[in-house]
């Protein structure tokens, strides 16, 4: 049995007919070809599949696609608007916060969620926000610096793009 669902991804209305067993991650990657969201473990431990659900970061591997019915999803593909990098994306580049890049989309979505709820985050808030995103390359320092840089550049305004 499949379930018909209606939802938005990066503001675009979407419809899909999905089996109960499909995860949101499968829906994004396999059906919608939004492969910027990565799978690193499948059990919610690594954060590579972090997306925003109604503005809040969640791991897409631990949510069923059918649960997305009526919800708003944001992925890394929606982060740059009209080809223009977001302040967060530019800050990740400037701070040298990406190496192999596999954790980067999830990391940026976690950071995006943070800057929505806390536009001037403390160091501890930044760390708490990304501690669920494993990175094996950078040692995190540059990522923390990138988020700090983005918050400074946004000047206390919530990150909304």
């Amino acid at each position: 049995m499949t379930h018909d669902i209606v939802f938005t991804v990066n503001g675009n209305p979407e419809r899909a007919s999905v089996p109960a067993t499909m995860t949101l991650l499968d829906l994004l990657r396999d059906r919608l070809a939004l492969t910027g969201t990565k799978e690193g473990c499948g059990i919610g431990e690594c954060g590579a599949c972090t997306v925003l659900l109604n503005g809040k970061p969640i791991t897409a591997c631990l949510m069923l696609a059918v649960e997305a019915d009526g919800q708003a999803i944001e992925t890394i593909e929606g982060e740059a608007v009209g080809g223009e990098l977001s302040v967060l994306q530019q800050s990740f580049i400037d701070a040298g916060a990406t190496q192999c890049g596999f954790c980067t989309p999830g990391m940026i979505m976690s950071a995006h969620g943070l800057l929505l709820r806390s536009p001037s985050p403390s160091h501890d808030e930044i760390v708490e926000a990304i501690a669920g995103n494993l990175c094996r390359c950078t040692g995190y320092e540059a990522i923390i610096a990138a988020i700090r840089l983005a918050a400074d550049r946004l000047g206390g305004e919530p990150h909304d793009a």
Partner: protein, 781 residues
């Protein structure tokens, strides 16, 4: 002559960053093709067993299943150095997690469901899990037919009818006499568990068997050409019939060197009538089935004079290779020739045994062999210093390699080797060595400081080579073709900087495409061993010179000026002192056209190459020879704080100094060091496989295999780069990518002694181990 540099040494941002922050970077995980099948694996639940029967009937009857393979039908051995492994287990399984059956089906769900229908009957066999026990007479033989396996002759020495895959010897001077003469001696043993690389992108491969015995492969690999060569050797196919693509790679750290899932994907595709087959390791398979870093048991005997000069070193390194030792043998070899640390020791005897056991098999992991041996060596150096009543830093200074010394393989240590002591001096100064730590504000916490040295040379065959092609674009830009892989290190950005510098064009006009393709990219051995910037950089310099020669030659005719009087600057060629006569590279890139329409020259394509120079095989009996293209030296100093009631350890500061020769890009270099140090912290404090008594792997997931998170990094890290130039290195640079990880555990172990007065000999230094030792100590006193 000092030359003014415009691009080299500048913090140029990585070219791939935009793709990575937008999600546009496609990794093998993200690729798919029409008709593509998905593969799943049946894994062995036993560490050691005979495969009695495999029943695939029910699985074959599943709609959507297109191919099922077992080891029976695949009679080939794989390997780069030691061909001891099969694509799927045949007759016996040698570790829990070994792939026994593979299914390719229309969807991953069907493949997984079919795997659950496969019935494998096993008859359990004795298992040998400890490498020391595996060396004993009468131990269960993991490979009873070892003598029949092909291996790199003259370099590796497997011992038939034993579990020893390789025995590397180093013999220098007269150890027996020197240790008899020593005034102070120390013997100590150390242990490292197997550890996983944990790239965030697990291994993934898509392969397609094509007509006329051709094959196309897309793979998350560090080694496009080595993959192609080994596929060619394995399946007896011409090299040109195999095309290997490497798109963006989500981390490797050595675990994606050599062969991975490529042969399996290919044989499945062949069995499925040539449909492309995608094999993606689950995270559990990444832990359980794909290779790890080898465990090590080391015993170190040091003899010294009372004045602190080491006179003898005898070390035995027993490597826990696991079930297969293809890459493990090379780790055992490299660890032997590096096996005395960065010290000058006249009398040295090292035995490095790579030993089969019934566990997950080992491979290269960032700085391979060195984090492991230096855990012992640098801990032993501190212990010896205490026996001598000397400061550990001072004891090291007495023994560090200096100009005029020779290494344990007989290599002369010259001024071009870099300055180990400057690294030590830099970190001891930064950490405030000699000044006790500020006491913590609570009585149950204590602090301590520790130092450790590190060194490593690229471990690679004597003939290792690479090549680069540079094509000039119509706009005068440079397209650089390489087949070394940038899986996050940033080497492509550095190669672009070198091309920009050499060609005298802006960095923005240089370009490297993020996909290696053996059909178009020129040869490179493998992207391992901190050698890509060094070798690839030299090749870019040569290719740039080739381009400039072609540009000058055309400009010479166009301007009617001898080419030796022409200079290339800012993207133009002109006679020295006459920039007004400049001809732009763009005008020359496809050939030069005179006013009357006559044309000369042609498209500018330069090529450059580099091959390791002067390396020799090591003498089988003495290990003497020249194994290293260059050495990189460094040091760490750390300060830790321990909660003596719970064993929790917190790293307050890690200072790292590396002699980079020349920092080509400070931003990328820093990224390598910070990232490497935190990876080393993982090995130091948390990481390690845990096995049950019957050889089952108990922590094959992030739930119980913990790597550092953003909460686990030190309060502070500091990076110091020394620039004592490397002769033959591009702009004097030497590799530094692997090194930051090495000796982080050693420095922390030494700091723990300073804090607690307890000698830790076993990694990881997790809270439980620390508290257990604290309590044992309290009971004993």
């Amino acid at each position: 002559m000092t030359r003014e540099l415009n691009v080299i040494g500048k913090p140029v941002a990585r070219a791939d960053a935009v793709d990575k922050v937008t999600g546009a970077a496609h990794y093998t995980h993200d690729l798919g093709f029409p008709g593509m099948l998905h593969a799943a694996l049946v894994l062995s639940p036993h560490a050691s067993a005979r495969i009695v029967s495999v029943d695939t009937e029910a699985a074959e009857a599943t709609p959507g299943v297109r191919a099922i393979l077992t080891g029976k039908s695949l009679d080939v051995h794989l390997g780069l150095y030691m061909q001891d492994k099969r694509i799927l287990a045949k007759d016996v399984v040698r570790y829990q997690g070994e792939a026994v059956v593979a299914v390719a089906a229309d969807t991953l769900e069907i493949a997984n469901a079919a795997c659950r229908l496969v019935r494998v009957d096993y008859e359990e066999l004795p298992a040998v899990l400890d490498p020391c026990e595996a060396m004993e007479k009468g131990a269960h033989l993991v490979h009873p037919d070892l003598e029949t396996y092909s291996h790199m002759e003259g370099v590796f020495f497997p011992k038939p009818k034993t579990n020893i895959a390789h025995h590397q010897k180093i013999r220098k001077g007269d150890v027996a006499r020197a240790s008899d003469d020593a005034e102070v001696t120390l013997t100590a043993s150390f242990d490292n568990p197997p550890v996983q690389h944990v790239p965030m992108e697990t291994h993934a491969t898509i392969a397609q068997s094509l007509p006329q015995n051709r094959m196309e492969v897309w793979t998350s690999s560090q080694s496009p050409y080595t993959v192609r060569h080994l596929l060619s050797a394995t399946f007896n196919l011409p090299h040109a019939s195999i095309r290997v693509h490497v798109p963006y790679v989500g981390g490797g750290f050595g675990g994606k060197a050599g062969l991975g899932l490529e042969p399996l994907a290919y044989v499945l595709s062949k069995a499925a009538d040539g449909r492309p087959v995608k094999v993606v390791a689950t995270r559990e398979q990444e832990f359980n089935t794909l290779p790890s870093r080898q465990g090590l048991h080391s015993t170190i005997e040091i003899g010294a004079r009372a004045d602190g000069k080491i006179v003898s070193l005898k070390s035995t390194y027993i490597w826990d290779a696991g079930a297969y030792a293809d890459y493990g043998v090379n780790v055992g070899r490299a660890a032997a020739y590096s096996g005395a640390g960065p010290y000058s020791i006249d009398n040295c005897w090292i035995d490095s045994f790579v030993v089969y056991t019934n566990k997950i098999y080992g491979t290269a992991y960032r700085g391979f062999g060195h984090l492991e041996i230096l855990w012992g060596i640098e801990r032993a150096m501190d212990q010896m210093a205490r026996k001598l009543n000397m400061d550990p830093a001072e004891f090291r200074r007495i023994n560090l390699l200096k100009e005029g010394d020779t290494t344990i393989t007989g290599e002369a240590f010259t001024s071009g080797h870099g300055k180990p002591q400057q690294c030590l001096d830099a970190v001891t100064e930064a950490i405030g060595w000699g000044t006790p730590s500020t006491p913590p504000d609570v009585p149950h916490k204590v602090r301590g400081k520790g130092i450790a040295m590190l060194h490593k040379a690229p471990a690679m065959p004597t003939y290792t080579s690479c090549s680069v092609v540079i094509k000039l674009d119509e706009d005068g830009g440079a397209d650089i073709l390489v087949s070394g892989v940038d899986y996050g290190q940033g080497t492509y950005t550095v190669l672009r900087q070198i091309a920009a510098e050499e060609l005298s064009i802006p960095i923005e006009k240089t370009h490297i495409t993020w996909e290696c393709d053996t059909a178009f990219s020129p040869y490179d051995w493998q992207t391992v061993a901190s050698r890509f910037a060094y070798m690839g950089g030299n090749a870019v310099i040569e290719a740039s010179a080739d381009c400039l020669g072609q540009l000058r030659s055309m400009a010479s005719r166009a301007l009617d000026v001898p080419s030796e009087l022409l200079i290339c600057n800012g993207g133009s060629v002109y006679p020295d002192g006459q920039p007004d006569r400049a001809i732009s590279y763009a005008t020359l890139a496809l050939g030069y056209t005179f006013e009357n329409g006559n044309s000369i020259g042609g498209p500018v394509i330069g090529h450059g190459r580099f091959i390791a120079k002067g390396l020799t095989h090591l003498d089988p009996e003495t290990g003497q020879g020249l194994p290293a293209q260059y050495w990189t030296y460094g040091a760490h100093a750390v300060e830790v704080e321990v909660d003596t009631q719970t064993g929790e350890i917190e790293v307050l500061n890690i200072v790292s100094a590396l002699d980079a020769g020349k920092v080509l890009n400070p931003k990328l270099c820093l990224g390598q060091v910070v990232g490497g140090v935190i990876q080393g912290l993982g090995s130091a404090l948390w990481e390690g496989f845990v096995f049950s008594e019957d050889g089952r792997f108990l922590n094959p997931a992030f739930v119980d295999y913990k790597i550092p998170t953003a909460k686990d990094i030190p309060h502070r890290t500091q990076q110091i780069f020394l620039e004592n130039p490397q002769p033959g290195g591009p702009y004097g640079a030497r590799g530094v990518a692997e090194h930051p990880m090495i000796s982080v555990p050693s420095a922390i172990g030494n700091a723990l002694y300073d804090a607690l007065g307890i000698e830790f000999m076993t990694l990881p230094l997790n809270y439980e181990r620390i508290l257990t030792r604290l309590r044992e100590n309290a009971e004993a006193t």
